[in-house]
């Protein structure tokens, strides 16, 4: 996008609603945005943490049972070799996508409104990828040998099979996690230094001092920091596309009807961004309310998120439409059967739920009133995540349960361990997120301050920070 258009667009945006409330100074911003980190945690935070920790406990039990008994503790069978495990994996990875998209792509495209929510979204990415990472390890039959998927020089002189999409997954997800972690941490440095500076207790000053890697805010620091941040942003940008593209290869590369589809990469990426933004919405609404961040995460942000949800939701709906169209148009009887079975088979209610949540619900954001009503958007965001989970469930389980030979058709029903793993990772996510909110500035202070300066002093948007 040309700089001129961008600035024109921005001016129009500014007329609509402020990105940072006017009249904020650096000091007021620092103190207001760090108040949650500096003061004792409120009771609500503790309650949520307890809830999250219960989930972690449940996760611990479910993981132990899985390791002790084997995959037999799950509902998987032949022919449904993958079920909740891979569904959860794809779902969590997808949720992570919004973080990278907001941090990297919007950074590269200089979308200013991202500055208040990027830290938030990046943390979400990290924790979601951690949750996702549980499943590939846990879902294998012999998890203690899962390291064989890494190409390390072994005495067995056997390399992994580089033709396998699971192998690609290993690289894609580990790269994604590493880059996301670096990106997040690098962005944190100035803010960690700010906490160090405003902290009153010595322990905090030491701890945050170590964490901020000696940041002093010199011009040289800022110069290198900006350069590194931009470079990492540039590195992370293709990852937004690549990770879910490669995850979609797990399915698209297979011969199974319902999996074997060229539309999967873009369709998966769109779905990932869709669910990721929905997750941002789900988390940010309570966070801005209870952490007093309404002045930096404004309704304008929320509305923009809703627009992205609407756009990606339409892409996802197009994907569904094309899947059905191709199933009919290809004349492939196996493919046609799978999609017929989605509508009429044993999982049809899951399918209808998916269609409702992913196709119908986002349509509400055509209306400005819905885009600006907190309750509506929160409920919609939760529904969209449910919808995206059911979508992955349908792709994984429904396609597997009735494939080529009717003789091997089977059913599927999850066990308590399956449900516990799903709820448990949610608990882990909640816990990690609450700890993040408490100990790390949830909004990128330095970037908000910068934005605030730019807005107050006219700024120079095309200057390329």
């Amino acid at each position: 996008m040309a700089a001129g258009t961008a600035s024109a667009r921005q001016r129009i945006d500014e007329l609509q609603a402020p990105l940072v409330n006017p009249g904020e100074t650096d000091e007021t911003l620092s103190l207001s945005m760090l108040q949650f980190q500096l003061k004792p945690a409120p009771r609500g935070w503790w309650l949520m943490l307890m809830l999250g920790l219960s989930g972690v406990g449940l996760l611990g039990i479910a993981v132990s049972v899985t390791l002790y008994q084997g995959i037999g503790a799950w509902g998987n069978n032949i022919s449904v070799g993958w079920a909740f495990g891979i569904t959860n994996f794809v779902w969590w990875i997808g949720i992570g996508h919004a973080g990278t998209l907001i941090s990297a792509i919007l950074l590269v495209f200089q979308q200013k409104w991202r500055n208040s929510i990027n830290r938030f979204a990046e943390a979400m990415t990290l924790f979601a990828v951690m949750c996702a990472g549980v499943f590939p390890v846990l879902h294998v039959g012999r998890p203690w040998l899962a390291y064989w998927l890494f190409p390390y020089p072994s005495t067995m002189v056997i390399w992994p099979n580089f033709k396998s999409p699971l192998m690609w997954d290993v690289f894609a997800v580990s790269t994604y996690f590493t880059v996301s972690l670096l990106f997040w941490f690098l962005g944190l440095l100035p803010d960690l230094a700010t906490i160090r500076d405003v902290s009153k207790s010595r322990t905090r000053r030491i701890l945050y001092g170590i964490a901020s890697l000696g940041w002093r805010g010199s011009a040289r620091h800022w110069h290198d920091y900006k350069m590194a941040y931009m470079l990492l942003g540039g590195l992370a940008t293709p990852l937004v596309l690549s990770v879910h593209t490669i995850v979609s290869f797990d399915f698209a590369v297979a011969v199974l009807p319902g999996w074997h589809a060229t539309i999967f990469p873009p369709y998966f990426v769109a779905g990932a961004v869709f669910s990721g933004f929905a997750m941002v919405m789900t988390l940010i609404i309570p966070a801005r309310r209870f952490m007093g961040l309404k002045h930096v995460i404004t309704e304008r942000h929320l509305e923009n998120i809703n627009k992205v949800i609407l756009a990606t939701g339409m892409m996802v709906a197009y994907g569904y439409l094309m899947e059905h169209f191709i199933a009919w148009y290809s004349g492939d009887q196996f493919e046609a059967f799978v999609f017929q079975d989605r509508r009429a088979g044993m999982f049809r209610y899951v399918y209808f739920l998916q269609m409702f949540c992913n196709v119908l619900v986002p349509q509400i954001f055509w209306f400005k009133k819905a885009r600006n009503t907190i309750v509506i958007m929160w409920i919609a965001s939760v529904l969209i995540q449910v919808g995206m989970w059911t979508e992955r469930f349908m792709i994984v389980v429904q396609s597997l349960h009735k494939d080529f030979l009717p003789s091997s058709w089977s059913g599927y029903s999850p066990t308590w361990v399956d449900w516990s793993l799903l709820l448990g990772t949610m608990g882990f996510f909640t816990t990690a997120f609450l700890l993040f909110l408490k100990f790390v500035p949830a909004v990128a202070l330095s970037e908000v301050k910068e934005l605030s300066h730019e807005l107050q002093h006219g700024g120079h948007p095309g200057a390329g920070r």
Binding site: Q69, G70, I71, G72, G75, N76, N77, I78, S79, V80, G81, W82, H139, V140, G141, R142, P143, L145, A146, W148, L149, I158, W159, P160, N161, K163, S164, P165, L166, M167, V170, D250, V253, A254, V255, L256, Q333, F334, F337, L400, D403, F404, L405, P406, S407, S408, W409, S410, G411
Partner: protein
């Protein structure tokens, strides 16, 4: 560290039930000896444990200290040095390979046999260092021809079954074998005083000359004693039918090589009946699309293996078969005086077409009556065969092979009457579990309570053993010497493979104990009995017989008999009677449990029924129309009531079942037994049986019962192919005229492949499976299970679709579900050249060998299950749980040492019996000869009685598999995926009668 027990076991040729060496006990001092003989202290729990019953040797002392370990190690060395290993007391001759001595790591093969319904099937048993691991057919034996059925093969599982009876019981309390033998000899002496007037025997039907000689001796010693035989599924009607037709009970057997047209009247001759392996072979050889191809008509109440193979099948309720038979007779031979009965149009059409076809093939056809049918139907079948001139050609008659031609409920009735008259003091039972197997209305259970001495022997402690005064564990057939007769009368020998694991005795030993003969072993008896048949050099000749497993040239010849119209006449009249109306209940021997004697066999329990694909259960089979009328669905509980006898069972809707007819297979619903596998599985059909109508009856009341639906574990529940081209069939006429068959051509077509062609080294292994020959009998499935150490996972896991069978038989229904055409299709890994499983495995655990076998590297597998997801044939099996970790030491003896036992979390599948390929490769290298076509025989191929499976190399253009794959009815399953399978299926050829269309 492996336990000391295991270490000790390594050097032992034969283990006993506790995994111990049958050696004498050593004492280090007289005190120690005295202590070991003293009464156990109260705190000694090992005595109370069922593992070491009274009478057994005490368990070896074992503490885990280093000191005791060294002590025992020293003792072990001393034992070995002193030459204390017990040598087998008697000579067992190897069949095919005769090494100078036993070479560890090389299997030996021994000829032996097994008997069911009195008829012996010759077998070849593979043993590794004294452990039998695989039961195969004896190629020289006329009843086997190299094939083995499911029961024979699975009996290996029963041999090692840890639930087998181990303890001699006297009035329920544990005793010792020696005291039993002494007691029985003494008792025999007492009985001799009145000539055994109050002594009765209830024996298993048998054709064994050895048993006959013991029986003869017994009846000489106790002239007033009486022996009867009983079997739940007896062949009485066949003998009685011959008596009606020819005036004498005769054995009727068939030579289907001579038959162009076969009519089966409720006869499942391809599966359960004696000689079915040989009949399957003869039948299948004429299922190739040549001018010689036979045509099979089947009329039956429930879908059977035979019926599903038939060209024309008609659903007829069991009670109406007689009239159908009469209609055929009336048309084939109007002079017979049979009035043609009026039949429903469908049956009439079938009968008329069959009769015309039979008349066109005089002397080249066979009409076979089933064992369920009464003597009249057998008599009519003989009359038809006689009128067609089939006797002496496809239908042979001769004197009965079994000692007692009567073995039905009437025999038990006679016994009960004698008991009730107080005429029985001692009853010796060797028939299998008569309290369960005999119709309950005979009152055998109540009668037994009145007999002071009941002596019973069986493999398991069951319903009957609980009522016996003396119960003696029986030796398994692989543990005892014996003999028998093949279905054609050939003398067959049975040699034991190992000493009784659980200290059982054979039938001969039990009976001779009564004669006071404990010293003369069955082996000695066998030698003495057959001494006269050998020439001068008895030792050499006898050794050869034992090693061959049979005495060739002893088959019974056809005897010519003339029809006896005077006795046939009443039979025709009886058959013409219109049966009473009402819902019919039909009993059937189960394909897995038979009459219940195999119910504790986990392999068989988990084997899917050939037609319903049901595991771990039986069910009240009901036709779709009747189910609709009664508002039943599969799994619904129903209360069945037949003349006051009641049973609650679960219904299963079965396509092909006759309307208004419920079939309930026998052998399930066991309760009073130590058979933990069998207990509580299925429904006891025997509760509804009566002595008057033990095979089928009318007047059944069926009421839907309240309660949650029964959960069936069915491995293949979908009926149709959904219009897909999977298991193909063609008509003989179309094939012969070379009519283009688009479906077949599409599945044969070569698709381009963008990858470079791989030159396969050495051999290019491939398989052809002929659906035209496959009957779905499932012998191959059990063979694969035994060969490849495939675990049994249990009902709950099968319900979750986690069964482990590498080879399954898909069964599809075509056409109307009421009366469908059936096609069975064995599917194992097809070894795709472009295998979808291989490229998705992230750790290279499934790879192609240079000879084109898609191999599974268990050690490398981490268990992502991606390969299974991407397998279009879904032939891969995953160890979801620790399916292999809970075996006792004795059960572990069963495993084939050439095949890895897989761990939890590992994928597994068919690998073309790669261990057999490698064995042949090693042997051929040692011999310096190249591998020849036919050298490698896979386990499934070997077991198949119909020769439907062929294995070989495609590099040899003249190998059988190359030739078969070139045939125009060969095709690749799911060809459009271009996976390039190495296993090709061959379309089933149907040979319909043009008249019936």
């Amino acid at each position: 560290m492996p336990s000391l027990e295991q270490k000790k076991s390594l050097s032992l040729p034969v283990l006993d039930g506790q995994g111990r060496l049958p050696a004498r006990t050593l004492w280090r001092s007289p005190e120690e000896h005295a202590a070991s003989q003293a009464a156990p202290s109260a705190g000694d729990i090992s005595i109370a444990s069922p593992e070491f019953p009274p009478g057994a040797e005490p368990p070896p002392e074992f503490t885990s200290s280093r000191r005791s370990f060294v002590q025992l190690l020293g003792a072990g060395v001393a034992l070995g040095a002193a030459g204390c290993f017990t040598k087998p007391g008697e000579k067992m001759a190897p069949y095919t390979k005769r090494p100078l001595d036993l070479t560890p790591g090389n299997a030996l093969h021994y000829a032996t046999c097994q008997t069911r319904a009195g008829i012996a099937t010759g077998l070849l048993v593979t043993a590794w260092e004294g452990r039998p691991t695989k039961i195969e057919g004896n190629p020289d034996h006329p009843s086997s021809l190299g094939a083995a059925g499911v029961f024979e093969q699975a009996s290996l599982q029963s041999l090692y079954d840890p639930q087998r009876a181990r303890e001699v019981r006297h009035r329920g309390a544990g005793s010792a074998l020696r005291s039993f033998q002494l007691e029985l000899s003494a008792h025999g002496q007492r009985l001799r005083k009145d000539g055994g007037a109050r002594l009765r025997f209830l024996l298993e039907p048998s054709a064994s000359p050895l048993i006959a000689s013991v029986r003869h001796e017994l009846l000489s010693a106790f002239p007033k004693a009486r022996a009867r035989a009983y079997a739940s599924w007896s062949r009485e009607a066949s003998y009685e039918g011959a008596r009606l037709a020819f005036g004498a009970p005769l054995e009727v057997r068939y030579d289907l090589a001579q038959a162009a047209v076969i009519v089966a009247l409720d006869a499942d001759f391809l599966s359960n009946e004696p000689g079915s392996l040989a009949l399957s072979r003869q039948f299948a050889r004429r299922r190739e699309p040549t001018a010689e191809m036979n045509r099979l008509y089947a009329a039956e109440p429930q879908l059977t293996v035979t019926g599903s193979t038939a060209d024309h099948r008609v659903r007829v309720r069991a009670a109406e078969i007689a009239r159908l038979a009469l209609a055929i007779l009336a048309q084939v031979n109007p002079a017979a005086g049979a009035a043609a009965p009026t039949l429903p149009p469908e049956q009439a059409k079938w009968a008329s077409a069959a009769a015309k076809d039979l008349s066109r093939n005089k002397g080249r056809s066979a009409v076979i009556a089933g064992e369920r049918q009464g003597p009249e139907v057998h008599a009519i079948a003989l009359a038809i065969n006689s009128a067609l001139g089939n006797l002496g050609k496809a239908v042979l008659t001769h004197a009965p092979l079994v000692h007692e031609v009567r073995a039905g409920p009437s025999e038990v009735r006679g016994l009960v009457e004698e008991i009730n008259r107080g005429e029985v003091d001692t009853l010796v039972i060797t028939a299998w579990n008569p309290l369960y197997a005999a119709p309950r209305d005979l009152g055998l259970a109540e009668a037994l309570a009145k007999v002071p001495n009941v002596i019973y022997t069986s493999l398991f402690e069951d319903e009957t053993s609980a009522r016996a005064t003396w119960f003696v564990p029986a030796a398994h057939e692989l543990e005892a010497w014996g003999d028998g007769r093949a279905h054609d009368g050939t003398l067959t020998f049975r040699q034991p493979l190992l000493a009784p694991l659980y200290g059982g005795v054979s039938e001969v030993e039990l009976l001779s104990a009564l004669l006071g003969e404990t010293e003369r072993t069955p082996y000695q008896r066998l030698r003495e009995l057959h001494k006269s048949k050998a020439g001068a050099d008895f030792e050499t000749t006898f050794t050869k017989w034992i090693s061959d497993g049979l005495l060739p040239g002893t088959a019974a010849a056809h005897e010519v008999h003339a029809l006896k119209p005077e006795s046939l006449r009443p039979a025709l009249d009886a058959a013409a009677r219109v049966p009473a109306e009402g819902l019919e209940l039909v009993f059937a021997p189960d394909y897995k449990a038979y009459d219940g004697r195999f119910a504790n066999n986990a392999w068989l329990q988990e084997l899917p029924d050939p037609l319903s694909k049901l595991t771990w259960d039986n069910a009240a089979l009901v036709s779709p129309a009747t189910a609709k009328r009664l508002a039943l669905e599969s799994g619904d509980l129903v209360d069945l009531e037949l003349r006051g006898r009641k049973l609650r069972a679960a219904a299963l809707v079965q396509p092909g079942q006759a309307d208004e007819c419920i079939t309930l297979p026998l052998g399930y619903g066991r309760t009073a037994t130590t058979e933990g596998v069998a207990r509580g599985v299925g429904f006891d059909a025997g509760a509804l049986r009566s002595a008057a109508a033990p095979y089928f009856d009318r007047g059944l009341q069926l009421n839907k019962a309240a309660g949650p639906a029964h959960r069936f574990a069915i491995t293949h529940s979908h009926f149709t192919m959904e219009g897909r081209s999977l298991a193909l069939d063609v008509n003989l006429m179309e094939l012969r005229e070379h009519k283009p068959n688009e479906e077949l051509e599409e599945q044969r077509r070569d698709h381009p492949l963008i990858y470079e062609k791989i030159p396969y080294a050495g051999n290019k292994w491939a398989m052809a499976i002929d659906l035209s020959k496959c009957t779905g009998c499932s012998a191959c499935v059990v063979a694969c299970q035994a060969e490849n150490n495939i675990p049994v996972v249990g009902k709950e896991q099968v319900e979750k679709s986690r069964e482990m069978a590498w080879l399954r038989i898909d069964r599809y229904f075509e056409g109307p579900l009421e009366d469908p055409k059936v096609i069975t299709q064995p599917v194992a890994c097809v070894h795709c050249e472009a295998a979808p499983c291989e490229y998705v495995c992230p750790v290279n655990a499934t790879v192609h060998s240079d000879e084109g076998i898609n191999e599974m590297v268990y050690n490398r597998c981490v268990g992502t299950r991606y390969c299974s997801n991407n397998c279009p044939y879904k032939v891969r099996r995953f160890n979801f749980l620790r399916y292999n970790d809970d075996y006792t030491d004795v059960e572990k003896m069963r495993f084939n040492p050439d095949v890895t036992v897989r761990a939890r979390g590992v994928m597994e599948k068919c690998n073309y019996c790669v261990q057999r390929v490698e064995r042949v490769r090693i042997d051929s290298r040692v011999a310096g000869q190249p591998m020849k076509d036919g050298d490698v025989v896979t386990a499934c191929q070997q077991a198949c009685p119909a020769e439907a499976i062929t294995f070989g190399s495609l590099h040899d253009p003249n190998s059988r598999v190359s030739l078969l794959q070139k045939e125009e009815r060969s095709y690749r399953l799911l060809n459009e995926l271009n996976t390039k399978p190495r296993t090709w299926h061959m379309a089933r050829v149907r040979n319909p009668n043009p008249e019936l269309g």
